[in-house]
């Protein structure tokens, strides 16, 4: 059986809207606000119903423009690797510091995307990040926490 993915996404959105609506009803408002014409849960409740309405329509009505994605041609592996690298970057940036993590993030991203010009890869990671960091930290006075540079005495 050929499943229309757009309909599946619409069904997921319908379920998401139902969950949103349920959570909206659970919002605790002040006792004196409970019967007010408008309180903290009013707008989300309307949104929940609107989400159910539009996604419901999308499920029910025929889909004249079915989107067919050629999954075989998609680069899932490289995309997943890039996402994992970004997550690791996000996890380490505060503990290790901006300079080292950002440089390594850029260097490894170039590598996994198939780049092998080592000198260019190096120039567009470590010196590039150093220059950008100088612009942010030195010129624009935007504080960038960097335990690594502090530990080697480069940053105060």
């Amino acid at each position: 059986m050929n499943i229309n993915t757009t309909k599946v996404i619409s069904l997921l959105f319908f379920i998401f809207s139902a969950f949103y609506l349920y959570t909206a009803y659970q919002i605790q408002v002040f006792a004196f606000d409970e019967n007010a014409p408008f309180n903290a849960r009013t707008f989300p409740i309307y949104l929940g119903y609107t989400g159910l309405f539009f996604s419901g329509l999308k499920i029910i009505l025929p889909d004249p423009n079915t989107i067919k994605v050629q999954h075989k041609t998609l680069e899932y592996k490289k995309t997943a690797i890039l996402i994992v690298i970004a997550i690791i970057y996000g996890a380490t940036i505060l503990k290790v510091g901006y300079f080292l993590t950002t440089s390594l993030f850029l260097f490894s991203s170039y590598y996994f995307l198939g780049e092998r010009r080592w000198v260019l890869m190096f120039l567009l990671s470590f010196p590039f990040v150093a220059a950008f960091m100088y612009l942010l930290h030195g010129v624009l006075d935007i504080y960038l926490r960097d335990p690594f540079l502090q530990s080697i005495g480069v940053m105060g």
């Binding site: 993915t5 757009t6 996404i9 619409s10 959105f13 809207s17 949103y20 959570t23 919002i27 605790q28 408002v29 002040f30 606000d33 007010a36 014409p37 408008f38 309180n39 903290a40 849960r41 009013t42 707008f43 989300p44 949104l47 989400g51 539009f54 996604s55 999308k58 009505l61 889909d63 004249p64 423009n65 989107i67 041609t73 998609l74 680069e75 899932y76 490289k78 995309t79 890039l82 996402i83 970004a86 997550i87 970057y89 996000g90 996890a91 940036i93 505060l94 901006y98 950002t102 993030f105 850029l106 991203s109 170039y110 995307l113 198939g114 780049e115 950008f132 624009l140 935007i142 926490r145």
Partner: protein, 498 residues
């Protein structure tokens, strides 16, 4: 008024102030080009510097940064499909496809001329219409604003091509849902935070726009790397093409620019509406006005589709100064930052600003025109150099886009959670983009979500819970009827007709 114009010219044409406009435009263009760093960040960074000058010079500098950043945002929209500011999201609809067809230089030139024309025309409107327009904007009440927001969100129907109306509306709802996360503005009750402290202040706009545009665009490019159609696009992307605008394109722009500048200026005057809604409305209006043949080109590199939002967003920038200077109500987030700076100078904006500080009022208006001229002189010759960014191989460009996006979020919050959230939203957005779910409606809804709830709250409280406020005032009723007409028309076209 003549006396005021002369005072303004005398102040704006001093060497120091012209230099400030130039520095502001250049600095703003660079900052605006970087995804994540928009005019608000640029102006916020400028505030400490401006305190070293007199109020007029300080505001002239900030105004220059504002225009520069809006133009810079258009550049990243056209070249990378990564709008630096919400006001240039609509620019990417036709600017980016044009760049993909090897006409990046032309797209940037059209954007530069449209911005210049829009800004110049609106500076003229501002000069003659500021006093009366402030009275009109004063007459807008909460129900009118609420109806206007509905109209703005419905205008996204104009962006959805055949069969995408419902998808666009689902994205609108998703955007509003994301905007509802965090503390309720009035009662401070937390909503949809699931006891996570990081969500208490809500989700940042920059985070959502970075995730759904810059990051998701980068992931989509990698994902579709082996797709034969995207490979072809990559080859054509390396060609800049001519920056010369031919006669046919000029004719199209001559028609688009005046009407888009009017709509941009009028929307900019309304407090809270700003450049984003102006550019979306101008795009939607232009699409509805042009003939069927031209309409087919929208979203695929239309000259009208690029010129309209570019004209409107710059016109709205000038328009947004009207409520700020005459009423003390900012017309956009950026003018809100400038209002804070003005108060810091000890200048109280309001109707009496004409009398108490005429040099500030008129010099800003005069410097707007000078700023537009300088922006054009600075940016047109630089287009070939700016567009070189296209020659950067994808292996380098993609990690750099991710780097700018993550850095933009990191310097805003210094929080790992925001980075994870951005990656999560970007992954979902990439998946949705694969199936043609449009992202611009989500962004517009996210921007307007808070304002919309606020105006609905006021309207319902004033009418004691009754929905009669929707037809009590003629203005509200007219806006709502226009909305209904748009919905019915698009629904008919996209579904029933088939």
């Amino acid at each position: 008024m003549i006396e005021g114009i002369l005072i303004g010219l005398t102040t704006a044409l001093t060497f120091q102030n012209i230099l400030m406009v130039m520095v502001g435009c250049f600095f703003g263009t660079i900052i605006g080009m970087l995804p994540g760093l928009g005019p608000m960040t640029a102006i916020a960074l400028m505030i400490p510097i401006t305190y070293g000058f007199d109020p007029a010079t300080g505001l002239i500098l900030m105004a220059g940064v504002y225009y520069g950043a809006v133009f810079g945002g258009s550049t990243s929209s056209i070249l990378l499909n990564a709008p630096g500011v919400p006001g240039t999201v609509a620019t990417s609809f036709d600017g980016y496809p044009m760049a993909q067809q090897g006409k990046a230089g032309k797209a940037l030139a059209i954007a530069a001329w449209s911005s210049f024309a829009g800004g110049t025309l609106s500076a003229i409107y501002l000069l003659f219409m500021a006093p009366s327009l402030s009275k009109v904007s004063l007459s807008f009440r909460s129900p009118d604003y609420f109806a206007l927001m509905i109209l703005g969100l419905t205008a996204i129907a104009a962006f959805s091509s055949k069969g995408q109306f419902l998808k666009a509306m689902m994205m609108v709802v998703l955007g509003l849902m994301l905007a509802s996360v965090g503390q309720d503005s009035l009662s401070d009750i937390t909503r949809f935070t699931f006891n996570n402290m990081n969500l208490t202040d809500g989700i940042s706009f920059v985070l959502v726009v970075m995730a759904t545009f810059a990051m998701s665009e980068a992931l989509t490019i990698i994902l579709k790397r082996n797709d034969p159609t995207s490979a072809a696009k990559q080859v054509s992307l390396t060609e800049l093409g001519s920056i010369k605008i031919n006669k046919e394109e000029r004719t199209k722009m001559y028609k688009t620019i005046p009407r888009s500048s009017v709509i941009g200026f009028l929307i900019g005057v309304l407090p809270g509406a700003g450049a984003t809604i102006a550019s979306f409305l101008a795009y939607g209006m232009e699409r509805n006005i042009v003939n069927d043949e031209e309409k087919e080109k929208f979203g695929k590199g239309s000259v009208n589709g690029l010129s309209a939002p570019e004209t409107a967003n710059n016109a709205a920038c000038s328009g947004s100064f009207v409520p700020m200077l005459t009423l003390g109500i900012p017309g956009s987030g950026t003018t809100a930052v400038m209002l804070g700076a003005l108060l810091g100078f000890g200048v109280q904006p309001g109707p009496r600003l004409y009398m108490t500080n005429p040099e500030i009022f008129w010099s800003i208006i005069m410097s707007m025109y000078i700023g537009m001229l300088i922006l054009l002189i600075l940016n047109l010759p630089l287009i070939p150099y700016i567009a070189r960014i296209l020659a950067v191989p994808k292996n380098y460009l993609i990690p750099l886009i991710l780097f700018f996006s993550i850095t933009g979020i990191y310097v805003m919050s210094f929080n790992n959670f925001d980075i994870y959230l951005m990656i999560g939203i970007a992954v979902v957005a990439t998946f949705l983009r694969l199936y043609d779910f449009p992202m611009p409606p989500l962004i517009l809804a996210f921007v307007l979500g808070g304002l919309m709830e606020e105006n609905l709250r006021r309207s319902l409280l004033l009418s004691n819970g009754s929905w009669e406020f929707l037809w009590d005032r003629t203005l509200t009723l007219c806006i709502l009827l226009t909305t209904i007409l748009i919905v019915v028309w698009h629904f008919y076209k996209s579904i029933i007709r088939k």
